[in-house]
Amino acid sequence: LQIEKRVQKAQRGDKEALLQLVLDKKDEYYRLAFSYLRHEEDAMDALEDMIVILYEKIDRLKKPASFYSWSKTILVNECNTLLRKRKKVTVMKIDEQPSPSNEGESAIHKLDVRRHLDHLSADQREAIQLRYWLDYDYETIAQLTNVPLGTVKSRIANGLKKLKQHFGGEYV
């Protein structure tokens, strides 16, 4: 109920109400963006872009209760746009750059999993990351990535199969 009131306020152009809505779940947003971009600055950029789009389009939101799933879909789209831009700009592998958040990571097999993830198609990687990294259920993933439930399931299944092949039986 609180959410709906705030959304209605934001729809009337109240910037502070919109900001509070986002800040209430800032960790969730941040994790989502980070799982895509794996970079602190980029994740914050994506969030900034998202809040501008939210502000411009919130009056088109019909159901105030679905604010969070709607805004997360927008965030996912923004992340994908940033990833596409990044692909054009740099040929370096982001994974191998030491970023501050990776410092604590010592186990080699973790790096392995990450590197193997890059062998998957973008769609499969996206679905697997949302499922296993962020613990989202199939339905949420379907909503966020704008595809049918069956597609999500098959993307995850195929992605896992491919990963197993790349590991070559090491972890199967």
């Binding site: 800040l23 800032k26 914050m44 809040i51 501008v52 502000y55 999993v113 962020l134 613990d135 990963l163």
Partner: protein, 125 residues
């Protein structure tokens, strides 16, 4: 859960416990502040319509179209035909009331004959 799924999930642990940086709130606030306030959409729509109409009137050549349809709409011809009778009554036409034609063609009766500098009308009964 297979081994691989466990690994994936373990790796996600790092992200699942992630906290948004403190700078985020400030950045979002500043960005939102710098976005221009939304304009009234209906106002925008009507101004676009008005501007395009003005554009159409001033920058396209369509006086002939207006002349043609103006005649159609305002019934120029009907007005003219009606006024023939008036002209006749004013004595500016010439009453004939005779019919002419060859013997093998159907005869055409004529009421009156009005005349101006450019053309001649025959008004039929």
């Amino acid at each position: 859960m297979s081994e691989i799924e466990k690994h994936l999930s373990e790796e996600g642990e790092e992200i699942r416990t992630l906290k948004a940086p403190d700078a985020l709130e400030n950045r979002l606030r500043m960005r939102l502040k710098s976005t221009p306030p939304k304009r009234n959409k209906t106002w925008k729509k009507w101004s676009v319509i008005a501007a395009s109409l003005l554009f159409a009137f001033f920058f396209t050549y369509q006086f002939e179209t207006i002349a043609f349809y103006g005649k159609e709409i305002f019934g120029y011809d009907a007005v003219l035909t009606d006024s023939l009778r008036e002209l006749n009554e004013q004595g500016r036409g010439q009453v004939i009331e005779k019919s002419a034609g060859r013997a093998d063609v159907r005869r055409k009766p004529a009421d009156c004959h009005v005349h101006d500098s450019s053309s001649t009308w025959w008004k039929r009964r």
